[in-house]
Amino acid sequence: MIRRLPLVLPFALAAGLAAGLGSSCSLVELRIDKDLDLVRCDSFKEGEASLGDVLAALGPPVEFGARDGEIALLYESVRLKESQVGISLGAVLGPGAGDYFKFSYGSSGTDRKAALFLFGEDHVLERVNTLRFEEPFGRSGSIQVLVTVDEIVSMGGLRASPDAFVESRELLNGIQWSQNLTHSALVELRGARSRMGQHALDPEFSRIEANPD
């Protein structure tokens, strides 16, 4: 049986093992929430659709806020892909402890969707804004254990806790808010960087943040 083995197979497997220890490719995907149907979101007619219509069609929002009788609902979904190329340190520096580590270089891209619904005091839709952005998210390098499959490019902002998990969120009620998604005081996209300045506008909130106990 052994004599019948073609030489190509063992050589290919051996070469594969050597190549595997020398370099590796990884794909890391992050999916947050169900994919948002923006066509459906845009189908709601301003001045006609009600709060109940939107809730019935899209379900509970990712975030919501209220101010002076008006209500804002935010829906969002995130898809992120990071491709990595790794080179074994052992292959570069020679045999040794480096055999168990690799230098990885990764680049990420996002596909993010969001829809903001604003309702008036009568709970009738005043305005709906949708947006989608597909763009590079970042690039980075890292030294990792050979078998690690983890993101290199920081996704911290996208992984941020939903605000329902954050205490004292309601204290933001006192801040004027606008229809600008990235500067809204009550509803924010994941990873929005505006929160720090807005919190600074509210002395009480800032004090609590600084002294959480």
Partner: protein
Amino acid sequence: MGPAVMRLLLALALTAAVGLTPGCIRNSARRGIEPIWMEMDPASFVVGTTTRAEVLDRVGVPSQVLALEDGTALYYLLERSRADGVILLLYNQRVESSYFDRAIFFFDDSGVLTEFSVSEGAGAR
């Protein structure tokens, strides 16, 4: 080719096979409150009839309470995340997904339900 060479090649092949044997990644996490609302029939919440006290009694303490101009809103949230992956050395992959079970209830200033919504799948569990 002698038997010794063949044995060596076979050993290399077995080593390679072990090296290429898939490693798997799987982990999961839950964060939030017990999704009692997902076990309830959404039809059991009736706009104009169900009260805030009833919702609090049946669903429990919410993740978030929001004071509205003319009432209140209760927001319930559970985050479920799961990661699956495979390690082949030459090619590795990991997919992490986060999904949410949510419920939101709006009440007027007398505490009567005016609008509500629960995540898809509620009542089917």
